[in-house]
Symmetry: C2
Amino acid sequence: MTQIADTKFKREAKRGSHDFNQACQVLDAGKVCHVGFTLQDQPYVVPMAYARLDDQLLIHGSVASRLMKSLASGIRCCVTVTHYDGLVYARSTFNSSMNYRSVMVFGIARPITDIDEKRSSIQALVDHLMPGRRLELRKSTIKELNATSLLALPIETFSCKRRTGPPSDSKSDLDAKVWAGVVPLELTAGEPVDAPDLLPGITRPDYL
Amino acid sequence: MTQIADTKFKREAKRGSHDFNQACQVLDAGKVCHVGFTLQDQPYVVPMAYARLDDQLLIHGSVASRLMKSLASGIRCCVTVTHYDGLVYARSTFNSSMNYRSVMVFGIARPITDIDEKRSSIQALVDHLMPGRRLELRKSTIKELNATSLLALPIETFSCKRRTGPPSDSKSDLDAKVWAGVVPLELTAGEPVDAPDLLPGITRPDYL
C-alpha cells in the first residue's frame, strides 16, 4: 500500500508518538474502536469491537453488513481507539482540557477468508473481549463462520496521542481563587446480571 | 446541503432509530465524540470533546488544527458518539455481543465566527463538559476566543443505534451448562486529584 495517511503531528507534538509498543498498550486496553471509511464522498464512523493480534487489528461483523463489505472491498480506513481518562480543570476555560490516550491506525483491511485463520481470529477476539470465556463455549460451526466477516488491518501506519497529568495554566491565572486539578475517569464493570433464562445451578464464573 | 449520507438501517433494523429526542439523550450523556472526515481519499477519525446546543453539535479546537481547518472548509463529516454499556455473554461465541448506544450525525459543519456566538458556544461546551464550573472561571479573553475555532454541525441527518438487554441465544444453545448474562460497564469518576500548585485553602467544589 502506498502510504498516504498523513500522521505527522502538526500541533502539541509532545503529546504524539509513533512507537509501536505504546500503540499496542493503548489498543490492548480497549474493546471498542471507531472505524472510519468513505462512501461516495461521505465519511462514516462506526463503533466496532476489536482485538489486536500481533501487528494486526482484527474486526468482525456480519457478512451482510455494509461496513464489512465496504472495507473488504479494499477502501482506505482509519481505526481509532480512545480512552477518555479524565477531565482537566484548569483555572481558565481556555486551558481546561481532557486526559486521554488515543491511537489512529490507517490502511486497507485484508479480508480473512481462510477458515483456519478465521477460527483463530475469532478466538483472538473472544480472548481479548471476554478473557477466560472461550474454553467454556462450544466451537463455532461452519455456518457461523461463514456468516461472520473478519478483517485484519496492519498496524503499520499509525499515530498515538495522549494527554496526562495536571492542568497547564497560564502563569497569570495561577493566583485565581478557584480549584484546579483532574477528575479521573475509568470504564468500570458493574455487578453481572444473570440472563433471565439461566439454567438453575449455574453460578457466575471467576473470570467475570 | 444535499443529503447524501445513507442512514437507512440495512441490518438489525430493530436496533435503529431516527428519533431526534433519542439522539439527544445519547448525545447529552457523552463528552467525547469521534469526528470522521476525508482528506485526499484517506479517512481520519479524531476524538474530540463536544456539546449539544439545541439542534447543533458544537466542537472546538485550535485555529491551527488540521481537523478544524479541514472541517471549516466545508467538507462532509460524520460525528459519532458511542456509549459502551456492557458485555453480553451469550452461550455461543456467535451470539456474544455488546450493549451500546450510539449516534452518527452526518453533514457539513458551519464555522462559528461571530464573537458573541463564539462566546455562547464556549459557554455551552463548558456547561456540558464541566457542569457548575463556568461561573467560577474568568471570562475568556478576545485573544483566547481568536485562538479557538468553533464549529456547529446541524443534527439533521443522523441515526441512532443501540443494543440493550440480555443475550439472545439460539434455542439449541439454551441447555449449555455455561453462565449467560450481561456485565454492565460505565464510565465512572474517581477521586479528584488536586493540581500540585493549588493555592492553600482552596477546597474541592461541590460540582465535582
